[in-house]
Structures are given as structure tokens and as C-alpha cells.
């Protein structure tokens, strides 16, 4: 079956103001709204569009993390994923571990494409997709802004510092999404009801033969240096004069 695997990470919602715990042991996540990582929503949307064009037959959403990740997997199912796989663990998962776990799921599911968000908005690592591609020994097309599937190849336009780069990759391949790739659909209420009946399998990392290891240890968390409030000017003239005195205009 032509299958697309999409990773879904549960992260603090992008609208939440992040606060570091006073003891520096982490950021406050208790009672905070959690959501699907925005780049992963884009990954899922792209997978669904490829399926809707008849170029794939099944979209599988995968999440790695504690039991609560199933909320985000249900969101993915409501958006249109056919089924979900939850690799359940309470361990701290660094990108290398996530990639090794995803590789195990890839080996079971044999997808034509794995689409991941280019980064998670919590740890901002931007690593997992590239690491999965390396371990899988397959092509990677990161920071995608356009994806075209043609037979056993994909033509991917990437957002790079120089502009837009286009790569041709053999399938299967790993694609990571940039912001401009698409606009994810909104979930409708009937879809949320339907999602409750879709299959969601739970896997144990140990059963997959992967032990989560933490090689990059968090020593402490701190808030960033704060900006101080500036001055109010009364009109455009005063504003431009102030900018001119600083050599900015």
C-alpha cells in the first residue's frame, strides 16, 4: 500500500507565553494549553493532499511521548489521518532517540514518504527528519515549500537562504515542512466524532528495541534578557528625528 507517515509532536501551544520555572529546572507546562506542533500540522495537511490527489492510499500519524499525546493523535485523525501509532514513553526524548524510534515504525509501515515538521516549537532542534533520513539511508528534502510526486520520485522545492532550491529525490524519502508549504485545514465537529472510531495503536519503545538515551543533558533553564520599555513620541516628526539621531534613517 502507498503509505505516508507523518510525525505529530505534542507541544506547548504557540499562543502560550513561555515561563521558566523559578528554580530553573524547566519551563512551566502545568495547566498550559498543548497542541500539535504547527509544522507537523503542515506535514499532515501535505500528506492528506497527496492522498486526495490519489497519489497515496493511507496516511498514518505517529507520536512519541506520554499518554497525553493521544489527544494530538486524535486531532490528527480528525484532520483526516487514517490511523495513528503512539509510541508511549514518559522518558525525555532527544531527536536522536526520536529518529531511532521513527525508523522502527518506518520499518513496520514501509511508507513511500515520511513527512515531518522542520522543527518543533518547543526545543527548536530541527534535527529529527534529517536524522531519520540518515538512519533510513534515504534522501531528505528539508524546509519544503512545494512537493510534487511523480511516480517513484518527488520534486521538492526548498526554502533556503539563497532563495528556492529544487531537488529531485527517489522515493521513499523524508520531507520536512516549512511554513509556506500549505495552510492546514480546520477540523470540523463531525470529523472529531469520526476520529474517535479510527484505529490508534500503542507501542512500547522497549518492544521496538530502542532504549531512550539522553546524551545532551539539560543543566538549567533561564529566561532571556528582557527588553526595557522605551519612550512614547508625540508625532511623526519627533519619531523620525529620534531615528535619525541614532543613524537608523
Amino acid at each position: 500500500m502507498k503509505r505516508i507517515l507523518v510525525s505529530i509532536k505534542r507541544v506547548v501551544d504557540y499562543n502560550v507565553r513561555i515561563r521558566v520555572k523559578p528554580d530553573g529546572s524547566g519551563v512551566i507546562t502545568d495547566g498550559v494549553k498543548m497542541s500539535v506542533n504547527p509544522f507537523d500540522e503542515i506535514a499532515l495537511e501535505e500528506a492528506l493532499r497527496i492522498k486526495e490527489k490519489g497519489l497515496a492510499e493511507e496516511v498514518v500519524a505517529v507520536s512519541i511521548g506520554p499518554a497525553d499525546c493521544q489527544q494530538q493523535l486524535r486531532t490528527a485523525l480528525a484532520m483526516g489521518a487514517d490511523r495513528a501509532v503512539h509510541v508511549q514513553t514518559d522518558a525525555s526524548i532527544e531527536p536522536g532517540t526520536a529518529a531511532r524510534l521513527l525508523l522502527k515504525v518506518v520499518e513496520r509501515e514501509q511508507p513511500m514518504l515520511a513527512i515531518l515538521g522542520k522543527q518543533a516549537i518547543d526545543d527548536d532542534c530541527n534535527q529529527t527528519g534529517q536524522m531519520l533520513a540518515a538512519l533510513w539511508d534515504r534522501p531528505q528534502a528539508t524546509f519544503a515549500s512545494k512537493v510534487e510526486i511523480a511516480g517513484d520520485k518527488a520534486l521538492v522545492t526548498r526554502e533556503v537562504d539563497a532563495g528556492l532550491e529544487t531537488l529531485e529525490v527517489d522515493l521513499p524519502a523524508v520531507i520536512t515542512t516549512d511554513l509556506r508549504l500549505n495552510e492546514p485545514r480546520y477540523v470540523k465537529l463531525p470529523d472529531i466524532m469520526k476520529a474517535k472510531k479510527k484505529p490508534l495503536d500503542t507501542l512500547d519503545p522497549a518492544a521496538l528495541g530502542v532504549a531512550p538515551i539522553e546524551r545532551l543533558k539539560a543543566v538549567k533553564y533561564e529566561p532571556p534578557a528582557q527588553r526595557s520599555k522605551g519612550i512614547m513620541v508625540k508625532d511623526a516628526q519627533e519619531l523620525v528625528a529620534a531615528l535619525r539621531s541614532k543613524g537608523l534613517v
Binding site: 516549537i121 527548536d124 534515504r138 532563495g163 531537488l167 511554513l179 495552510e183 545532551l216 532571556p224 522605551g230
Partner: protein, 317 residues
């Protein structure tokens, strides 16, 4: 002792300044021996530039036709082979380095620290998380090889060397895969400066009211030589293109001057601009949160003020 391998970024036979910034980061590790590796179709001209960066002990060249377009999947196995014997492998936190380094880390079975902004020791680094809303200090065990990308905005480029470092050709045996092929690259489509790297940015929010109304910002931006950005609300409303979005889920920028017109200052927008040197906010709502972070705030109607500001800048008075 630390031995650091830095992968050079380059285009059109020119070394990218990000390479000298990686060297500056590496020199913060006491007593480190720093080497640069250049992958290119023909690496010698770039290697000569790399050899002139202060602090570099040796430059290694890998000249191969396959490295014409610096593709991560093609470089990674060869870089991983050359990384034997090094304690650290660094690349810039540009799209080139972000694409390449995790692939190398996975091949080396090494952890990666992304976006390092400060060096505390050979094993301890600081990096931003949550779009810069928190800073984490991370540590690897002594003896663990570390791959890292260097946040270029955090380091001043290393200067010129008094004498050039030795240049040595390498011929790694690792096979170069054929599954990934370069098709084309097109430079940014606009005559305006690139939003990500522009020194000045003029940005608009939902208060602009329409895509047509954004014209007044384009006009001001062209007068100032600035890039144009937009809030998520303006992008969602269709007033501005997706690639203009500034904020946590858009572009995180650090210009010398950021001018926000009709942007209230949602958290996710503020995280995208808080490294700007000077922030100007113009908004008709005196309670708008953007004023809390603005160096200069002006309450008023942007449709009146934008043309007025442009005129004042043009007249030089």
C-alpha cells in the same frame, strides 16, 4: 584536548561569513585545535579564504563534482568519515548547516546541540529554545563527540590570520549516494532586501485592512531600503504573503530597526522580533502590548503617519 572540525559554507567560490563565525565560536573552547573542511566541485579557491581566518590550524579540501551544489545527503557520509578523531563537528545554523549537520550526527551516532549562542566549556553550551523565550544550558559527557550548529547572530566573525593555515586535500572513501539530485536554485524574487537578513524591516498588521493598503508600507520600505514583514493576523487575513510572516511560526529576525505598524503585539509576534536592536511601534490603541517592548512608540492613525514618516525621511528634515 578539543579538536574541532568546521564545515565551510560557500557559494560561487566565495566563503560565506557564517564560516568565520563558526571559527569564532570554536575559539571560545580553550586550547581547541580548529580545522575547516571545504566540500566543493573545486575547493582550492575557497580553501585559500578559509586558511586566512585567524585561529584555523588546517584546511581540508574535498574536491568532487558531486559537491557542486552542497547537498546534505551527498556531503554527510564523507563528512562523517572525516570527523573521526575530532571531538566536535560544527556547522553554521543557516539552512545549509541545519540541513546537513543532523544527518552527520546520526551517521556518527552523536548528539547535536542546535543554535549554540554561547560556549561555557568544551562540553557545556547555551542555546535558545521556545523561539528564544527560554535559554537552556546543555552538557554532554566528557569524551562524547558533539555535533553542533552555531547561531551566527551570536558571534562576531573571526578576523584575518597573520599567516595562512596549511591546506591539505582529502579523498574520503565513503560512497556518495545517487538518490538525491539537484535541479535548480532561484534567488529570492524581490528587489527588496531579504526579510531574514535585512538591517531594517517595516511590518504591518491586521489594521492595514487590505492587501492594497500594504502599498503604503512597500513605499516606505523602498524609501528606507527596508524589507517588508507582516503579523500572522495580516497573513491569515490574506493581506500579505506567507513568507512575510514574522513571529514564532514565521521568521525570527534580528534587524537593526524594526517598525511595526498596526501590529498589536501578540506573544507569538513579539518572540520573532525581540532580538531587534531598535523597535518602533505605531498603533492607534495606546494599550497595545507592542508598546511594552518598543523603544519608540507613537499612538495614531497609521494611514496618516506612514506617508508622513516617508515624507520626513525623504526630505531629510
Amino acid at each position: 584536548m578539543s579538536k574541532i572540525l568546521i564545515v565551510a559554507e560557500h557559494a560561487n567560490d566565495k566563503l560565506n561569513p557564517s564560516t568565520a563565525k563558526c571559527v569564532a565560536c570554536a575559539t571560545k573552547i580553550a586550547g581547541a585545535e580548529i580545522h575547516i573542511v571545504v566540500f566543493a566541485a573545486e575547493a582550492s579557491a575557497i580553501a585559500a579564504q578559509a586558511a586566512n581566518i585567524a585561529g584555523v590550524a588546517k584546511v581540508i579540501t574535498v574536491s568532487h563534482a558531486a559537491h557542486q551544489n552542497a547537498l546534505a545527503a551527498l556531503i554527510a557520509p564523507q563528512l562523517a568519515e572525516l570527523a573521526a578523531g575530532y571531538t566536535h563537528v560544527f556547522g553554521p545554523s543557516t539552512t545549509f548547516g541545519k540541513d546537513l549537520m543532523p544527518r552527520v550526527a546520526a551517521l556518527l551516532d552523536a548528539p547535536q546541540a542546535s543554535d549554540i549562542m554561547a560556549v561555557e566549556s568544551a562540553t557545556r553550551f547555551r542555546r535558545p529554545i521556545y523561539a528564544g523565550n527560554a535559554i537552556i544550558t546543555v552538557e554532554v559527557a566528557e569524551g562524547t563527540r558533539l555535533v553542533a550548529t552555531v547561531r551566527t547572530a551570536s558571534f562576531e566573525a573571526a578576523g584575518a590570520a597573520t599567516s595562512a593555515a596549511a591546506i591539505e586535500a582529502a579523498h574520503p572513501a565513503a560512497a556518495i549516494p545517487a538518490h538525491t539530485r539537484f535541479v535548480s536554485v532561484s534567488a529570492a524574487r524581490s528587489d527588496r532586501p531579504d526579510l531574514q537578513t535585512a538591517a531594517k524591516v517595516v511590518s504591518g498588521g491586521r489594521a492595514l485592512g487590505s492587501a492594497d493598503n500594504f502599498q503604503i508600507l512597500y513605499s516606505l520600505a523602498d524609501r528606507m531600503g527596508a524589507a517588508v514583514g507582516a503579523s500572522r493576523a495580516a497573513v491569515d487575513a490574506g493581506y500579505a504573503a506567507n513568507d512575510m510572516q514574522v513571529g514564532q511560526t514565521g521568521k525570527i529576525i534580528a534587524p537593526e530597526l524594526y517598525m511595526a505598524f498596526g501590529i498589536s503585539g501578540a506573544i507569538q509576534h513579539l518572540t520573532g522580533i525581540k532580538d531587534a536592536r531598535t523597535i518602533v511601534a505605531v498603533n492607534k490603541d495606546p494599550e497595545a502590548p507592542i508598546f511594552e517592548v518598543a523603544d519608540f512608540g507613537l499612538v495614531g492613525d497609521l494611514f496618516q503617519l506612514v506617508p508622513e514618516i516617508e515624507k520626513l525621511i525623504a526630505s531629510g528634515s
